[in-house]
């Protein structure tokens, strides 16, 4: 913290209508409108309340284990032969991913609002586990909607949620994936408007969710900025993060937005390859539309029907992206590239072998693009990779893809 921090020029977004340029907004059924407007008011009050912020900071420190370390990945750096690579170790948080940062913020808000029942959606199960965790901690009943396909491929996380006292409801409607889990959570919310709080896990959904989730995840970027300044005496040249809905990435990017010298690089899941159509790269392979309460880039056909995403990583397997990423993409402040299933699998193994860290398949996508980024930035440069989660949950999936039995 030796250097002064710059004020953030991008603080004007979103506007009063919840828009990041043309993206974001409030596209929900009338029954939910009064609820999201109420949530907007409640969040604005909580955000401005020092007591709320102090309570959150206390739990982040003593329960989540923040700050998470910034670690110099020496062997990976040598291996790639380019810029110095640092990992921001969000996988060391309680529950093993960045998701808990947001869940802790929202559960404190839900309590403040007097809500007595929590619902959540989950893809890989990391957000579901984090939601179940904070609900157990505060003694609130928790229902987690999870696509039936994901229930099958993320069994350990389903059991973890059960252990934490949450009810996991497999969703078979639609195509049984994350988007359908989100539809089902919305249906629950619209049916139980009095007592229920919908704890959305990514920086998407109707306003104020994108800004609220971003704010709660911004602790990642705020810490990283200070830690890099301390370690290197300068800002990084680039930060790299994977993107599904994009909550970890926006949490990393946002505190760096005003630092124009810092390249912000998001890595989408290219699945079997973008030309195959079997991918989850909404920015690289989609176009703007409206889904789940906000306007953003979506995978959709010519008729505006949403197309199923595909990724080896359940956490990136979503046909949309947070609206602030859509905005940063269009204005060119952040750049968005992609990595395929196979590239992520290779990066997963490389990271485990060189650094003794088994990454989740989600950040493995970001790791897969490090060789080019490190080369472009060059030997004198500094790159921070956001290690958003640990890979224990993915071990069975990886074994299966490598043709091994465990």
């Amino acid at each position: 913290m030796n250097l002064p921090t710059q004020p953030n020029d991008y603080s004007a977004y979103p506007d009063a209508k919840g828009r990041f340029g043309d993206f974001g907004g409030l596209y929900v059924a009338e029954t939910l409108m009064p609820l999201v407007l109420e949530l907007d008011r409640a969040y604005a009050e909580a955000k401005a309340d020092p007591a709320f912020q102090a309570e959150l900071k206390g739990f982040l420190t003593h329960y989540v284990g923040r700050p998470s370390p910034l670690y110099f990945a020496e062997r990976l750096t040598q291996h790639l032969g380019g810029a110095k690579i640092y990992f921001k170790r969000e996988e060391l948080n309680h529950t093993g991913a960045h998701k808990i940062n947001n869940c802790m913020g929202q559960i404190l808000l839900a309590r403040r609002m007097g809500k007595t029942r929590i619902i959540a959606e989950t893809g890989a199960g990391q957000h579901g586990v984090a939601s179940a965790t904070v609900c157990a901690r505060f003694g609130l009943p928790c229902v987690v909607y999870m696509g039936s396909t994901d229930v099958e491929r993320q069994k350990p996380n389903v059991f973890r949620m059960n252990l934490l006292g949450a009810e996991v409801r497999p969703v078979t409607s639609g195509t049984g994936t994350l988007k359908d889990a989100m539809n089902e959570a919305m249906r629950d919310w619209v049916t139980n408007v009095e007592d229920t709080y919908y704890l959305i896990g990514t920086a998407a959904g109707p306003h104020p969710y994108p800004v609220m989730v971003r704010d709660f995840q911004s602790v990642i970027g705020v810490e990283t900025r200070a830690q890099v300044l301390e370690a290197e005496g300068r800002l990084p040249d680039a930060v790299v993060a994977c993107i599904g809905g994009g909550s970890n990435a926006i949490g990393m990017f946002h505190p760096f937005l005003a630092d124009e010298s810092v390249r912000l690089i998001g890595v989408e899941a290219a699945g079997l390859g973008i030309p195959t159509g079997k991918h989850a790269a909404s920015l690289s392979g989609g176009r703007p539309g409206v889904l789940h309460g906000n306007k953003t880039y979506l995978l959709q056909d010519a008729d505006g029907q949403i197309i199923d995403a595909h990724s080896i990583s359940a956490g990136l397997d979503y046909p949309g992206i947070g609206p602030e990423h859509a905005f940063l993409h269009d204005i060119g402040r952040a750049s968005y590239i992609s990595a395929t299933d196979d590239e992520a699998l290779e990066a997963f193994q490389l990271c485990a072998e060189l650094e003794g860290i088994i990454p989740a398949l989600e950040p493995a996508h970001a790791i897969a693009r490090l060789p080019e980024v490190a080369r472009e930035v060059g030997k004198d440069g500094v790159v921070v990779l956001l290690m958003s989660g640990r890979g224990d949950k993915d071990v069975a999936t990886v074994a299966q893809h490598l043709g091994r039995t465990i």
Binding site: G25, T31, M33, G174, N183, R187, Q305
Partner: protein, 279 residues
Amino acid sequence: MTVQRIDARFAALKAEGRAAFVAYVMAGDPDADTAFEILKGLPAAGADIIELGFPFSDPMAEGPPIQRAALRALRAGMTLKGTLALVRRFREHDQLTPIILMGYLNPILSAGFEAFAGDAAQAGVDGLIVVDCPPEEADPLADALDAAGVALIRLAAPTTDDRRLPAVVRRTSGFVYYVSVAGVTGVKEADAAAVAPAVQRVRKASGLPVAVGFGIRTPERAAAVARVADAVVVGSALVDEIAAGLESHESVTPRVLETAARLAKAVRAASAEQTSVQA
């Protein structure tokens, strides 16, 4: 025609002293030709107004019956364009029954608001209900529909309080759709006693007829709601007949039309009672 067709229908029903029976079916369910046969038969079965759903892959406000109807329609290749083609065919047979399209914003956004509004008016669509487009986001769509003379029909809900209601009914024409239960379509049951004051409130704020839907499946409940509202909407009970017909390999069209006729009869009888009580 367009919005005038809705106004004319409500004026005629008011003269008769009864509520409208609004039948909801999904375009392309279970396929385009069968859906057309159903559509063509609905006025004779007693439907005063037809709500025609256009399918969307992610229908967030629908319960299982209409979710499944949308999936059947999408599998059969139905699109927003195909929905308008269906309306065009219907108009070759019927010039009087108002048709209201109901669905979600993304297919319309994808088509372009102005192009859609023009095509819809030309096809013979009279009004549009978009579940996930609240007044806060509706101005660009409302501009396009106004220019084409198509009514934008708003939803009001049990959670819509008096402070919010004026914003909800602003720029609405034709009628207002009151969502009778906090929930998805076709699951919870509407309580006519609870609905009555809400209908009064919405009628007063909008100066328009109020249709009630979302929790009405049986002739009995349809009759109860018909006594307190200007129109009664039934959807899930009709599309369930399609699902049941497909399952038992029966012809679905008569099943849907017979159920519609029972509901229409109940609505007419109920309103007649109401008129005689008032007289």
